[in-house]
């Protein structure tokens, strides 16, 4: 869906409870007055298929499928400009994180590549309790788009020569440092 496209609300599938699922503050989106400050403040807006203002209107209207099917939320770099400038006090940036979570859990096709990044990061944290940058990057490129790794090979070597990154042997087998904690969190999330 392009930013300029007109939506026929009588034919599009809508779920009016969409905002309520964007916990904890999604329902605050009902306050949105469509002023467009979010779009004007967003450094990624020109590259988005849906502008932030349009996306929030679609969320308000319950157009869950269309929103989650886009890549828009994955272009958010968490700069928080839209959130601090929103004249209605809506925590927009935090709510984008909830959209990402939803798209990831629903395994949306457009989210696959970005999801690989977040999955790889948390897998490393679960395993060791702390980040290991090299293993994270290897896991990401293997899960996501292995060919894109070539674009970063030169940079990787430069960083290694400066002692900025150092490969460590991955630990295979055995329990991860945070297995128990992650399992407990998943259990509690299921109850919420």
């Amino acid at each position: 869906m392009a930013t300029s496209e007109i939506v026929n609300l009588t034919t599009v599938k809508r779920d009016s409870t969409f905002v309520d699922h964007l916990s904890p503050d999604g329902r605050l989106l009902r306050r949105c007055i469509q002023c467009g400050t979010c779009t004007a403040s967003c450094p990624a807006a020109p590259a988005m298929e849906l502008s932030p203002r349009r996306m929030w209107r679609m969320v308000q209207l319950g157009m869950e499928e269309e929103v989650l099917r886009s890549k828009t939320m994955w272009l958010c770099s968490l700069c928080y400009q839209c959130q601090v400038r929103c004249p209605r006090g809506i925590p927009l940036t935090e709510t984008i994180t909830r959209l990402k979570e939803m798209a990831l859990k629903r395994q949306m096709a457009a989210s696959r590549e970005s999801a690989a990044f977040y999955r790889a990061f948390t897998a490393v944290v679960r395993r060791y309790g702390r980040m290991r940058e090299v293993e994270f990057m290897v896991r990401y490129f293997l899960q996501g788009n292995p060919l894109s790794a070539f674009g970063f090979a030169g940079l990787g070597l430069t960083l290694m020569s400066r002692g900025k990154v150092h490969p460590e042997m991955p630990k295979l087998g055995g329990r991860g440092r945070f297995d128990k904690l992650f399992e407990r969190v998943a259990e509690l999330e299921g109850q919420r």
Partner: protein, 294 residues
């Protein structure tokens, strides 16, 4: 009064941004602060954990805050990374809701710690600008940064959205510190713009544009001063790609604010570790030597 801090390094401080940790600790020592590393600290979850799960994004920072509370000294938690800082402050705010705090603690039970929502996390920018007077900083300057023009760069999460210590649109904390060191401040309007963060990896075309716009604004200066390891990584190591994007060579040294303080305090090179930078810091050192001779 001795100022005391529990230092939470965060993952990047033992690898890609080791020079940030080393220079911060050296500068705080010179300023007479007492600093202890938080024992058994773990990852704050960065920007990834809360995407995987809202609760996980609170539990990972809360574990570290709980450890800080357990240490019983009641010292502020000092963080040098703006992403860690944002996660800690977000967790502190979320803990004000008793139901959320209870759920966090149900999860932390498996780690054998309890979070009470009392530990206070602070950014090194806040500490350096507000816990020490300009006179205290000036008194330590042995080699003033006279003749050096520095572009302050705060990035986003240092000042947004949870920062209580500076303006979230036009931050100013760094100015007095840089001037106390004898540097000239280059005013520009990208000081709190986004560096591109992980977009440089996941959406490189967009990420490089964001990095470029920051570097372009800073370019008239001799160097940039940053207070975030992520911003530093992007601004320092992507200048090749930025040059391609802008169609001309861009080359400007990116220094952590504590490294600049270390330079002015006359601390040894081992406290600054300039050799780890991708863009050489040499022009900055030469500029200072020239200024001294003149």
């Amino acid at each position: 009064m001795t100022r005391k801090y529990l230092f939470y390094p965060g993952c990047s401080q033992d690898s890609s941004a080791l020079e940030y940790k080393v220079s911060t600790l050296a500068v705080l020592e010179a300023l007479g602060a007492e600093v202890k590393e938080l024992q058994d600290w773990t990852c704050c979850g960065a920007s990834a954990a809360s995407v995987m799960s809202d609760l996980l994004g609170l539990v990972l920072p809360a574990r570290n805050l709980a450890l800080a509370e357990q240490s019983r000294e009641g010292w502020d938690v000092l963080t040098v990374c703006s992403a860690c800082y944002t996660n800690f402050r977000r967790t502190m705010e979320a803990a004000a809701d008793p139901t959320t705090l209870a759920t966090i603690n149900q999860a932390l039970d498996v780690e054998g710690v309890t979070y009470h929502g009392q530990a206070v996390a602070r950014h090194v920018m806040d500490v350096l600008a507000n816990d020490f007077t300009v006179e205290e900083v000036t008194a330590l300057v042995k080699r003033p940064l006279t003749g050096l023009t520095v572009a302050p760069y705060y990035g986003c999460q240092t000042v947004r959205p949870y920062s209580p210590f500076d303006d979230d649109q036009r931050p100013t904390s760094m100015i007095a510190v840089l001037e106390a060191l004898g540097a000239t401040v280059h005013n520009h309007n990208r000081e709190a713009s986004c560096c591109g963060t992980s977009l440089l990896t996941t959406k490189p075309e967009l990420g490089v544009k964001m990095t470029s716009s920051v570097l372009e604004a800073c370019e008239p200066a001799d160097c940039v001063a940053t207070v975030c390891p992520m911003c530093h990584m992007n601004l320092d190591s992507y200048q090749g790609k930025v040059s391609q994007e802008l169609g001309r060579e861009v080359r400007i040294p990116i220094l952590f604010l504590p490294q600049l303080m270390g330079l002015a305090f006359g601390l040894p090179e081992s406290a600054m570790m300039f050799k780890r930078h991708v863009v050489s810091v040499k022009p900055v050192l030469e500029r200072l030597t020239e200024a001294k001779a003149a």
